[in-house]
Amino acid sequence: MTKETRTELEAKAREIRALTIDAIGYLGVGHIGGSMSVVDVLALLYYRHMRVDPAEPRRRDRDQLVLSKGHAGPALYATLASKGYFPEEWLHTLNVGGTNLPSHCDRNRTPGVDMTTGSLGQGISAACGIALGNRLNGISSNVYCIIGDGESDEGQVWEAAMFAAQYRLDKLVAFTDYNRMQIDGPTAEIMNLESLKAKWEAFGWFTQEVDGHDMEAMDGAVERAKANPGRPSMIILDTIKAKGFSLAEGQVGSHSMSFSYEDAKMAIADLKG
């Protein structure tokens, strides 16, 4: 990755972070923590890796993203708005009655959202189905999926993990947003996932661990994942909950929190330095 590309992607991520804070702050409450921790990977995927066309969001041969941790919808909406799937003004309708941007991802409401998610553990199964369906349809597109670390407590995640390995879904590249915090506290104290890398390896996945806020490191991992035949890929992202949100970065309480629009503006100013 060139220095210019890296700088561009980092700028995109900052822009998406600002839009995410603005959207949640305008409403006054939302899942800021888990949204902010996945912004960098979303920017990397949508601005470097995914072959998508905002004018044709349901193209059969597009790359797809299943945000299995559906509560991070606001980060995806900010990304999609920045890509031009819908006007940025929509972001101020987050969770307003009748909106196209509900808290959790809805494929029927939001242009660019590939799968409806929200009950944790389900998105990764759907991503397996999409990858298998693409293969049956002779489509060689990539299917990306982002799961949460708290989400990884769900048994269905591990059912899907076995399935993807059994069916050699090598077009499936999944990420774990490992910010090490779930709603009730640190994952190490509530439901310890360690050793997460060894678990995914034991389930037959090509598994890598990278800094989830380092564009170049993540880019290398995605390239290696795409070049790895015969196995699904898991990229464990070492992330910080609420990354870039100065009011609550790294705090457990950021999972879903209230803050004023004034606070949001202040946090956006902090972000832009």
Binding site: T116, G121, Q122, G129, L136, N137
Partner: protein, 310 residues
């Protein structure tokens, strides 16, 4: 009466459909031999997906396949299809407005020796409250084949109950079916017996025969489609006969009995009404013959219910 094995008909119909339509895929959860889908796997190995003993993931994968444009038929025992994968079927398939056909085998007492752990009396009530879901229980091999074809052509989720073993053939090969349409198997002006599924439809026919010998002529309506329900036919017979008995191999709460009771009351039809089905009990082991007696859902119980409505 001619009999055919339901699971064989299920697989044969899917194989025929798959020859015509490349999007048909079949999933199962380590029950391909039990559910007959092994025959499909033999015919179309690439389009048969055994998910192992993981029903929740199976329904999620089926949803993803649907999102990719495929038409997935996923089968497992009805207890797992409903209870175990309910959230997945609710959200990933139905709420997401996808196109998943879920087939629950061994409904109600047909779970026989697998007993109470595997005996779904509650699946109909659970499924009925999923918005927009189509629910059918074919009563014979012909209607099974018909509804599998209808399900494949229908854009939207379907839940279908299916006993695995041999069932009486009640309809000729030329018979046509539709979602939301019941069939009147026997005419009669004194009462209407509305039955769902092969076990209960056959018991209902036997009950009508016994009643006829006493001079009571009961119509037998094969409900087939629990949702949408054939209100036109049901209300017409409720009005004309004034006596309705519903029969289901499931809890009477929330299933056919509940649905018909709601429809009759809301339509303001003053019919006498009784429900034959499971009365707030769990399942247990036994033969079908033992279990229908044990739970009070035999032809004799149906006939007694009709007689009681005076």
């Amino acid at each position: 009466m001619e009999k055919k094995e339901m699971r064989a008909v299920y697989a044969e119909t899917l194989i025929d459909l798959a020859r015509e339509n490349p999007d048909i895929v079949v999933l199962d959860a380590d029950l391909m031999k039990a559910n007959g889908t092994a025959a499909f796997a033999k015919a179309f190995p690439d389009r048969a997906v055994d998910c192992g003993v993981a029903e929740a993931n199976m329904v999620g994968v089926a949803s993803g396949l649907s999102a990719a444009g495929k038409i997935p038929f996923a089968s497992t025992f009805a207890c797992f299809a409903s209870r175990r994968a309910y959230d997945q079927f609710f959200l990933s398939a139905n709420y997401a407005r996808l196109n998943v056909k879920l087939v629950g085998t061994d409904p109600g007492v047909t779970a026989k020796y697998n007993g109470g752990t595997h005996m779904p009396f509650e699946d109909l009530a659970l499924m009925r409250v999923i918005p927009g879901l189509t629910i059918v229980e074919p009563s014979d091999p012909t209607s099974l084949a018909g509804f599998v074809r209808l399900a494949a052509a229908h854009r939207g989720c379907v839940y279908m109950r299916m006993p695995r073993t041999a069932a009486n053939v009640l309809y000729g090969a030329a018979e046509t079916f539709a979602f939301g349409k019941a069939k009147v198997l026997r005419e009669g002006g004194d009462a209407a017996i509305v039955a769902l599924g092969s076990v209960m439809v056959n018991e209902a026919l036997a009950a009508a025969e016994a009643l006829a010998a006493e001079g009571t002529h009961a119509a037998v309506i094969d409900a087939l489609s629990l949702k949408p329900l054939d209100l036109d036919t049901l209300l017409r017979y409720a009005r004309s006969t004034g006596r309705v008995v519903t029969c289901e191999n499931a809890q009477i709460a929330g299933g056919l009995g509940g649905a018909v009771a709601e429809a009759i009351l809301e339509a303001g039809v003053a019919a006498k009404f009784a429900r034959i089905g499971i009365r707030d009990e769990f399942g247990e082991v036994g033969t079908v013959e033992y279990l229908i007696e044990r739970y009070g859902i035999t032809a004799a119980h149906i006939a007694a219910a009709v007689r009681s409505l005076t």
